[in-house]
Symmetry: C2
Subunit: 228 residues, 2 copies
């Protein structure tokens, strides 16, 4: 086990090396390597192992029967692959997983993972935490996308950012965005000029004031109204 480096892996990083060693004792697993272009997993095939990308990078693609392809995600080590699918009702890979580099991937059978959960509550907690965080993240993204107007999305984003900042700076009406306008437009899935227009309109209506990445909320009630 000493040759496996899980540092940076969201479901392992909280565990010490010693603990990881114990965790894998008597656990069956295999490590495969893939070269660039190899297919790691096929869309539609059952997901029976916890696969963790130890080194290299992969991309995930959806492939249709007529051959048309859509890239979904690029993933770099160290991260689990499709961890939400291992235990789901419908445990098949929703995508093709293709190596975009030389890769090492560890595969731990489902039942062995359950044993590992029983053995080390910390590992179990990390795994659940990882999935919980993901669920939370997706919920928030979904809320954002579910708002139809750009002004609404922006209002939601600003109120959210303000709330996060409130924990550190109680009573403030300012916060700093971690995205520029172009990135924000992509995040919302809208065009950049349309976002700029909305910002300038909302500034004109004295609701907010944005300078660089600094957002100042002037009329909070108006922001709230844009949500519903």
């Amino acid at each position: 086990m000493k040759e496996i480096d899980f540092s940076g892996c969201p479901i392992m990083s909280s565990l010490s090396g010693e603990r990881i060693k114990n965790l894998f004792e008597k656990i069956e697993f295999k490590i495969n390597t893939y070269k660039k272009g190899d297919i790691v997993a096929r869309q539609g095939s059952p997901c029976k192992y916890l696969n963790i990308l130890l080194a290299g990078s992969v991309k995930t693609e959806m492939v249709a029967e007529n051959g048309s392809v859509m890239t979904i995600e690029n993933i770099a080590a160290v991260r689990p692959l499709a961890s939400a699918f291992l235990f789901a009702e419908n445990n098949i890979f929703p995508v093709d997983v293709i190596a975009t580099d030389f890769c090492r991937i560890i595969s731990i059978p489902r039942d062995e993972v359950l044993k590992m959960f029983q053995k080390d509550a910390g590992f179990l907690e990390s795994y659940i935490k990882y999935n919980s965080n993901k669920t939370q993240f997706l919920s928030t993204r979904l809320q954002t996308l579910n708002i139809k107007t750009i002004k609404g999305k922006l209002a939601f984003y600003i109120l959210e950012g303000l709330n996060k900042n409130l924990v550190l700076n109680p009573g403030t009406n300012k916060f700093r965005m971690d995205r520029n306008q172009t990135e924000l437009a992509k995040y919302f899935g809208v065009s950049r000029p349309a976002l700029a227009r909305c910002i300038s309109e909302m500034e004109g209506e004295n609701i907010i004031l944005i300078e660089h990445k600094e957002v100042k909320v002037i009329n909070r009630a108006a922001l709230q109204n844009l949500l519903g």
Copy 2:
């Protein structure tokens, strides 16, 4: 324990009564009742317990400081409340939870839940499965919403429905929707007439044929093109 009925609860229903009884042995928990209008949990308060709604119903709301309110969800027994937040990094309730009826809610401390995981791998598996299913569900919803055009959403929806049906009826190019046009429009978050127009255009282009809830795919490649 005999008075607690978990039937229909997604994280308990796979377990027999005997097994549930064992599971709760030596486990600390409390059961509270709430009458209509009572606040079960406050937005922003830490989520330290696994709360399962045993009887009654609740609604979840986001409340702003100026008092404006937005209802997020209505939940009826038997279901866990905010199960994704118990183990997440940021374990605070994102919403107010308010009883809309007489309610009984069991609260099991976080650490006790971990003990229960260690005790019964089946319970652990159900819990993880529940969260996994949720992640999967949200991912799919996110993909749908991420497609900008109505035709694209429809194409995605149809291809997905076809794929699900393929497992039962290999080689088919038909499937039956479980929503009518009005419901589908709501699901997509678009207006009903706009959806109807897209359907009729796609029928005119000989891509699909929809009769009642029966969908027939004529030109699958064209559907694929609408995704990207």
